[in-house]
């Protein structure tokens, strides 16, 4: 009983950590990368408050780790899709602009956003289907 509870708690902690990783990647690291690579003081427009995004990522991360792997991968896919959507909205679909020395510079980096969004979703789908196949083969 106690062992089972400890196992569940440890899975929950792993889920929280996974949520934090998704948050760090999609809400902190990738938008910051977009701000710094262009070398411009780009203004980001987060679609929701970052704390709400953090709560969602943690909830999905915990759900992913406590349910059976075959089902959990779906929550992983949801996390990736949510992160991609956040990144797409925060960067205005990859079209960023900034005022520099009396000029307005607009850079269309949408191709990069599409690669990240498509890549995230494809990786999520492949991961989910792999987990589902592994789960089915065990039955």
């Amino acid at each position: 009983m106690a062992k089972d509870l400890a196992k569940r708690i440890s899975r929950g902690v792993i889920g929280v950590a996974m949520g934090l990783v998704y948050y760090a990647l999609y809400v902190a690291a990738l938008p910051a990368m977009f701000q710094s690579i262009a070398g411009l003081p780009v203004e980001l427009r987060p679609p929701v408050d970052p704390s709400i995004a953090l709560a969602l990522f943690i909830a999905l991360g915990v759900a992913e780790s406590i349910v059976p792997a075959a089902v959990g991968a779906t929550f992983g896919l949801l996390s990736k899709a949510l992160g991609s959507l956040y990144l797409y909205c925060a960067t205005n679909g990859g079209v960023v602009s900034a005022a520099v020395a009396g000029y307005r510079v607009t850079i269309d980096m949408s191709i990069l956003i599409y690669v990240i969004v498509a890549g995230s979703v494809i990786v999520g789908v492949v991961d989910a289907s792999t987990q589902a196949c592994e789960g089915a083969s065990k039955v």
Binding site: A38, A99, Y103, R104, D108, I111, G119, T130
Partner: protein, 124 residues
């Protein structure tokens, strides 16, 4: 190796390859503020028309493609700008058009290595 790990690796390589031209251009622009020089002169053609002469000079290593200069409702194709390129384009305008032209009506559009569209427009 899991199929998703292979995909993540491939995606990482694709992102790095896509980022490289933009990264190099941003670094060069930071190091050299005169990377893309724009010089504008107004020359009187006759009593009713003036010529807006725009000289573009580029010293960066990343080619800028499909460069296009916009002045009001006029659009002039500048072509590709490569390292060491200097190109002058002349836009004939009527005097009234030239007088009504605001800085924000003049803009330059180009693509960094044909991938990233950039528009530079004066504020005002």
């Amino acid at each position: 190796m899991r199929p998703s790990a292979v995909l993540v690796l491939a995606m990482g390589f694709a992102i790095v390859a896509l980022l490289l031209p933009l990264l190099v251009f941003a670094i060069e622009a930071k190091q050299n503020p005169a990377l893309l020089g724009i010089q504008i002169n107004v020359v009187a053609l006759n009593r009713s028309h003036v010529a807006l002469s725009v000289t573009l000079s580029y010293v960066g290593t990343i080619p800028l493609t499909d460069a296009r200069l916009m002045a009001g409702n006029r659009s002039i194709d500048v072509g590709d700008l490569r390292e060491g390129t200097t190109r002058t384009v002349t836009i004939p305008l009527s005097v009234s058009e030239a007088l009504n032209l605001r800085p924000s009506d003049v803009s330059l559009r180009f693509k960094i290595m044909g991938i990233y569209g950039v528009e530079v427009r004066a504020i005002g």
